[in-house]
Symmetry: C2
């Protein structure tokens, strides 16, 4: 829902509001609500059935994340991913969104247990064959997993919902699930109803790009509800549903993605059970190794780009120095023979300044990128060592 | 320790290494180790007595944070503050450092309890009377407090060490202590030894700026060790020491700040005690209100700057459009009467483009700043409401 750009935005926001009011969920996580005014409109409309809500602000445009809840939101925290694409890829625009994960602590049914739902979105995949953003998405998946591990230690139930921009078998989602122990509601659901294979980006939807989905005639499943219970609780997914195309009685779907709705059964057990993290450890080690290899590939590409932009900045600086020397020479009357045409001299100087600024900016940006990729690779190495030492 | 800039850097890094090896602490938190090579040198030297270490990478230059430990570091997480000064204030340079808080989980004496030390640095104060960075520092103090609250819920003991760039009575430190329940080792220490009043930035130090410390003849205390115990543990500060000027037998101090060293007595208690957070709540509400007012002042200033830069960008765009129209007119042969001198026309166009780019960049930056200040203000409002509802 981008203002002025998204088609039939206001109509769809209205439809979403109507549907949420009618369905009366316990908790609603929305993404890509880029306009704060849309959030305010929804808030006014839903105030009656969802008295508690929060909008997460970040980045230039915002995080687009918001939450509506029937139960009080006690506290919020926003973690912005350290890598999120490139500012100069304007057509992809991810960098400007400040993608992040929001966390809220919620009191649940008035009793002690805390429910900690998170909602977020990882970097979009624009080309599956030659996916330049894979290392960034892996860094985000890793940071998301670390964030959940560190913040949800004292939680009884952890819920994560969002467009993860990853297929179920992708390394990023295996890493996230393996390292946090989160379970996939679609795989665990007793009863399922909705698009075939649980797909959430389907070719039938009039807002999706048909050519992108050519290799996947059924569509793809990239929106998830993940959960786990710690300590003395159990969670079971009783039912999972997705919307299927157009809103009832309308010709327009709610969004370009299908919504995912889960009915979770949360039960307190008699005695506390030890925190059951992670899947089988040898498998986890394989996943972390695979992710680390991909991050390493991204690291080397970023190092190459840092080097290229640094060299470009240096060349522009040299050109400027040469020009300054020539100008000084002309002032001192040394090259009286054949003076430069002033206009092209001036244009060249401006060009050099422009390139110098741009290349320096790029160099700084790729330096940060290298640092973050390097840091993630090292964290993964540390985890692998721990996994191997204490199997 | 900035390479090529800091005076007698290598000598001081060597002295610090010698001192750390000799003293044989359990845990060492270092800041402003900007060069990764310095960290590697220290790591080689200290490998024998501190077998576990970690260097936190972030930002363009790095976070400068590193940790040396006698006990295993299980896991790390880095949280970068969302606001950290302005990229165009080159002389202050904070923006480039990616200031952040690092978190490590540590196994302690081989037993169950986890020790979670954090180390970090908030934005420097360059002028106490007219402190333009106060709102940024408050946002950082708030984010730090929130980070500690959310990540340390399951920790038995929490330790925070670092140059907080705040005097003990400042609103930021009162907010941090009030909202996390952390206790100040200096105030709690049974025995103290070191600079008068525990000052860590003293006029005697040859690297400090004497004029800045004129209003404080004894110096100021801005480096802290804060701690708290949760669940069934107690922590007591038995001794606090600071270094006092030059290293023994040398003419050069270790750093521009005095080091702080604490001996903490950590004891497991018989029965679990409820998490004793925060100080008296009415006092806390006052502190949050005070901080929120300051953040609000910053918010209005940022909104003003966002508006000014937006207007400037618009004016530059208008100028460019006018020029384009004039050029088109000249091409169509409309103003045959008195053509512009080409050189100045060209210069003006480049100037307009330069201003447009700069003003747009500033506008985007201040938009982010407004978002983060607004978000912090709202979080504080939410907390205040909770504090008032359930006193």
């Amino acid at each position: 829902a981008i203002r002025y750009l998204s088609k039939r935005r206001q109509e769809r926001i209205r439809l979403i509001g109507d549907m949420l009011r009618q369905e009366d969920f316990d908790l609603v996580l929305l993404q890509e609500v880029w306009s704060e005014r849309d959030y305010s409109d929804l808030n006014v409309k839903l105030g009656g059935c969802y008295p508690f809500s929060h909008y997460f602000r970040s980045g230039v445009i915002g995080s687009g994340l918001c939450v509506f809840s029937r139960f009080p939101i006690l506290d919020t925290l926003l973690y912005q991913y350290s890598l999120n694409g490139y500012p100069y890829m304007l057509q992809h625009g991810d960098w400007f969104c400040g993608k992040s994960v929001g966390l809220q602590g919620r009191r649940w049914h008035g009793s002690q247990p805390l429910l900690l739902p998170c909602s977020h979105q990882l970097h979009a995949e624009y080309c599956r064959e030659k996916d330049a953003y894979l290392p960034h998405r892996l860094v985000q998946a890793w940071e998301l997993a670390q964030f959940i591990r560190h913040t949800c230690k004292a939680a009884d139930v952890v819920l994560l919902g969002g467009d993860l921009n990853m297929h179920p078998e992708d390394v990023g989602i295996r890493l996230l699930r393996g390292w946090t122990g989160l379970r996939d509601a679609f795989a665990e659901a007793t009863h399922f109803e909705g698009c075939e294979d649980g797909c959430t980006l389907v070719p039938n939807n009039c807002f999706t790009d048909k050519s992108e989905l050519l290799p996947f005639p059924l569509g793809i499943r990239i929106d998830y509800i993940l959960y786990k219970a710690i300590s003395s609780f159990t969670v079971k997914c009783e039912e999972l549903k997705t919307t299927t195309g157009a809103a009832p009685g309308m010709d327009v779907p709610f969004s370009d993605h299908e919504a995912v709705m889960a009915t979770l059964h949360i039960q307190r057990q008699g005695q506390a059970v030890g925190a059951t993290l992670t899947t089988a450890e040898p498998m986890l080690a394989d996943v972390v190794t695979e992710a680390r290899t991909e991050v390493g590939v991204g690291l080397r590409a970023a190092q190459q780009q840092r080097y290229s932009s640094g060299r470009m900045a240096l060349l522009a600086l040299l050109l400027l120095l040469l020009q300054a020397m020539a100008a000084l020479g002309a002032l001192a009357g040394l090259d009286a023979g054949q003076p430069f045409p002033k206009l092209s001299f001036c244009l060249l100087a401006f060009l050099a300044i422009g390139i110098l600024l741009l290349a320096t900016g790029l160099h700084l940006f790729h330096t940060m990128e290298v640092k973050m990729l390097h840091s993630t690779e090292e964290q993964m190495r540390m985890v692998l060592r721990t996994l191997q030492e204490c199997p």
